[in-house]
Subunit: 384 residues, 2 copies
Amino acid sequence: MKQTGVSEEEIFYLLSDAKKRDFSYQRVLSSMCTYPHEVAVRAHMQFIESNMGDFGLFRGTHDLEKQIILMLGDIYHCGSVEGYLTTGGTESNIQAVRAMRNFSRDRGNYDSSEVRPNIVVPASAHFSFDKIADILDMEVKKADLDHEMKVSVDSMQSLIDENTVGLVAIAGSTEFGQVDPIEEISQIALSHSLPLHIDAAFGGFVLPFISANHKFDFSLPGVTSMAVDPHKMGLSTIPSGVLLFRDFEYINHLRVHAPYLTVDTQYTLTGTRSGAAVAATYAVMKFLGVEGYSKVVERCMDLTGHLVERVKGLGIRPVIDPVMNVVALEVPHPTTLRTKLSSEYDWHVSITQDPKALRLVIMPHLDIGTIDMFINDLEKALRS
Amino acid sequence: MKQTGVSEEEIFYLLSDAKKRDFSYQRVLSSMCTYPHEVAVRAHMQFIESNMGDFGLFRGTHDLEKQIILMLGDIYHCGSVEGYLTTGGTESNIQAVRAMRNFSRDRGNYDSSEVRPNIVVPASAHFSFDKIADILDMEVKKADLDHEMKVSVDSMQSLIDENTVGLVAIAGSTEFGQVDPIEEISQIALSHSLPLHIDAAFGGFVLPFISANHKFDFSLPGVTSMAVDPHKMGLSTIPSGVLLFRDFEYINHLRVHAPYLTVDTQYTLTGTRSGAAVAATYAVMKFLGVEGYSKVVERCMDLTGHLVERVKGLGIRPVIDPVMNVVALEVPHPTTLRTKLSSEYDWHVSITQDPKALRLVIMPHLDIGTIDMFINDLEKALRS
């Protein structure tokens, strides 16, 4: 750090210069984040100093947080819902699995000095579950997928053993946007008396707003927790994730004693937490309502349909018919194509792992003109 | 969630109403957070959509992050420094301890199926270390404090055993603002070949800017990692923590494979990360420089000195002579007094655990007039 500070003018010159090196979302078809809604941004600013880490000092912001949880309980069919705003899907998933592990351990279901507990997740689970295995020192067993990239219920069932502390299913997989057969998995969870966490980080703000009726939430009696991310399709600011529990029982297994604060215990992963993101999430959810989100999602689904129609004209097929606004395209040499699209055409896409395919996420920052420009460049890149 | 959205006007009426229920920082003497600097807020806004979770898409913001790490390496005497922006001290501490544990495990220093690894921390360690014990499934051994509330080096040494994977020392304890004898602890770490993490979440933006010369950073050869929080005395926006490592070796033990991103591995705890907080931290550090931060800290230390002088006039003594802008006051019935100050006088303070004392943090949002008003009310509350 320099001895003497530099002028505000120079700093904002440097920041603008840095910003030019960030890709514009208009060129990004690989991200599950997007521009936050302007109402979210305005609310974020108003609460910029608010710290949910000690919410006894910020009772107004904490009221907004409680209202977000209730609004989500309403969408996801859970009157008894409890939860809090996290930094995003990874934290929500860590905490959900930690709650499962601790719940089982605290009940004496396994002897932690002798046994390594495990969870069963779909092979399509986000890589945060590999972090979780490492962080929580647990085994993460991965169940096979069927030809539609949904988890095989039989495979899941066969992996459950006496050290299994919980199950995970995905509502909107990161790679394919697929939804697991959660109704059946809920039954399995109930029959084994295991908690079931739903990773709906992406799907949580998509599935309630599309016409297809996917059962994925607390309406299924086996579902005990959910991760949903307002900073993805919820159009809130970063960091806005939410972890929801069917009831307080699981949260209690996350508590540690918290001295010096206005509260006695803390069940969150982080200490200091952004109250700004709470206000932003509250504001955009109130502003859009079900109708507003439905329009956002319908537009993304229309764009996705348009994209799939156009690539079919090029002889390219999607790995699965898109369930939400995520598409994986079967193209020759996807990794090379991705590099070419980035270096020669300034389009930023990504790659699925198995099968290798070109992955696109059709977020609200895209429009039909941009999709058409992308497809024209894709066609050129495929030919050259 | 309602079917139909409500107007922007109504939303900001509801938000303003919520904000009135948040306590103003002017009445808060218990928080280590404060109003962020206006330059930080402006930068935060400019980068509101930036996501460091996939920094290949946000190369400009990532350059700012790298420059923050270099500026901090400069202050903390480490040319080889590596690190990243976290959500705050808790995440930084989790990740530092996880790196220690994995480093030891990956080298085969203990058999993870048989042994529960441990770390040795001061009894004054932040309660995030209790979370860490639970999350990482480790034992956290707490070393005794001396009469000055510094950790006893003898006690630390006596707790080290063959399953110890690292040591922690505190530069600015949450309760008393005390600094451990880190020079001696560094020697112990070296003699046992153990990594040493410094929790300087609060002290990191205080100690380099005061006249007293505390040795606490990478200038001590045993120190391998540090946690510092720009969103505390660094005057940045939430969430701005930093985890620093002396070199990349430890970070490598945090990596998991990251498909779908522009990077191959991810070593952070969260996935999506606020680029806005990166820009904010960069901006305020550049704007203030060493001279600017020194003025901020000097002012807080002057206010702390004034407060201690005035309470001594009331016959009240601090538990230790303040090392930084944190004061614990020996008062009769501190818990009752705290409640009275809050309910009758609208002053929000906190309580230390052992010994029980009235804890005050003299942050930049306070001024001499506010301190004097507080002491007048404290005097009344003590008498009644």
